[in-house]
Amino acid sequence: MTSTVGDNGQTDGYNFAYLNEQTKRMIRRAILKAIAIPGYQVPFASREMPMPYGWGTGGVQVTAAILTPEDTLKVIDQGADDTTNAVSIRKFFTKTANVPTTTHTGDASVIQTRHRIPEQELREDQVLVYQVPIPEPLRFLEPRETETRKMHALSEYGLMHVKLYEDIARHGHIATTYAYPVSVSDRYVMDPSPTPKFDNPKMDSMPALQLFGAGREKRIYAVPPYTKVKSLDFEDHPFEVQRWSEPCALCGARDTFLDEVILDDEGGRMFCCSDTDACEARQQAGSPDDLLDQAS
């Protein structure tokens, strides 16, 4: 699976997609291992990238390692293609790999994301690459790497439920709203990255390959296509996703994740889709009734 590196796409004297081939091979080996053991965090020798740690270096390295000149890339941050960091990462790959980019989810073969899963269902020929800040779901219960690795190895996940139990005892419901832990293929407990729990159900049996890169923490993990991903819960307090009382003010969707936009300093606010591509597609498809109501 070595990519042919010719003159195409090389700019500024950098190798295709910035990383040298040796590094890409190392990352691909980690990715293959991650796919073979769904949900398991594979340590890899994360490289220093020309953007800061914590700003998507893990996702960027994974994308760089899997990208071919035939790919079409989409980059989103918080669901939007036009947020500054998404723009910056997209430009990086335009410059170093010269691959075509798109904002349309359906047109992309590789989608790098921070904190969201696109609303549009992904296909088998697509790869979703997540940027991950803290890959260890047990980190805030147990700070030590040596201990958390042992807990994963032995499937000692009782502590995870202790936290959920505490939530219910205190609030009457599970109070985790994003980075909501999941069990992958009934084996490893995994952090889905700080996506809202609204997106968790999309991970289950997704036709697309899901790859997760944590650059600063030097971990890669994966959910292969059509793999069971279950959000942790209790039988009598099943997992549920957020719901909004009003539809998107721009496209009228009632089944998407909404961002709140503050309109003035007197409490005026409106809600609209965080996935800008899905929202625009819907707006173009037709102007919904809700939109007219909201606009007045």
Partner: protein, 257 residues
């Protein structure tokens, strides 16, 4: 005669060049409470930790009989097996409740943790078990959502016991369970432990420096001094007619008070 549930043979342990215990062999039978007494530094706590699989002895073997199984050496078990035993079939009651409790989660979560660790996923059932066990250790069910740090020392110790017993362990290790408590609180706790041991048919190893605790709880005694077992036998026998000079000293010093 039934087979022992726990057995050790010629267990010796060194910390560096310091001998902690030497050539200790013992058997614990199902439903029995065995007391290990001695002053601090006698090696009794080291021995307890070795028997509970927390320390690997320099020499000798420890074996445990799993449910319906024969005695198996701990050294033949994987770390995963021992850690599983430690949160299911075994219980360990620490001298200081802080070492055995999660101080930052509620009493209910403390008791429920072992259930969740073995796969219980029904909140209502877990909570009901937690309340049941709070009542068993004489803590008001109303306190189920309170943090352990709002509990008195005696209550914390009872909570620790409840947290341990919720998975119906067959073997309980206790390290000076009444150590840090007032005398009046001690008496109530000892009564409670004695009642639980009888009704649940627990097998218990209890380490104590307090002969009164040993007398009240255990049916057999082992006396340790300087890492060696100097005497062992039925509790009444050892306390009423101690043979080893050290046992005599220990008994007389207590009884004079």
């Amino acid at each position: 005669m039934t087979a022992p549930i726990l057995s050790c043979r010629e267990v010796t342990h060194y910390y560096g060049s310091q001998m902690a215990c030497r050539n200790v062999s013992l058997d614990l039978y199902p439903g029995e409470v065995l007391g290990i007494v001695g002053e601090s530094g006698s090696g009794k706590t080291t021995l307890l930790k070795i028997l509970a699989g927390q320390i690997e002895p320099t020499d000798g073997t420890v074996s445990f009989a799993k449910k319906g199984g024969a005695l198996t050496g701990l050294h033949e078990m994987s770390e995963a097996e021992i850690r599983l035993l430690a949160r299911t079939d075994w219980a360990f009651v620490h001298q200081h409740p802080r070492d055995g409790l999660r101080m930052n989660v509620s009493a209910g979560a403390n008791i429920g943790e072992r259930l969740m660790a073995i796969g219980d996923r029904h909140y209502g059932n877990i909570r009901a078990s937690a309340i049941h066990w709070l009542e068993q250790v004489e803590i008001d069910a109303e306190r189920v959502d309170d943090l352990p740090r709002t509990f008195s020392g005696g209550m914390q110790q009872r909570l620790q016991i409840a947290r341990n017993l919720v998975t119906s362990p067959r073997l309980v290790f206790m390290d000076e369970p009444t150590g840090g408590l007032d005398v009046s609180v001690q008496a109530r706790l000892l009564d409670l432990i004695r009642g639980l041991v009888r009704t649940l048919g627990l097998s218990v190893l209890v380490v104590t420096h307090d002969l009164a605790v040993a007398r009240l709880l255990s049916s057999r005694l082992i006396v340790m001094q300087g890492g060696n077992v100097v005497e062992s036998g039925l509790t009444d026998q050892v306390l009423e007619d101690p043979q080893a000079p050290y046992s005599q000293l220990l008994v007389s010093s207590i009884l004079q008070v």
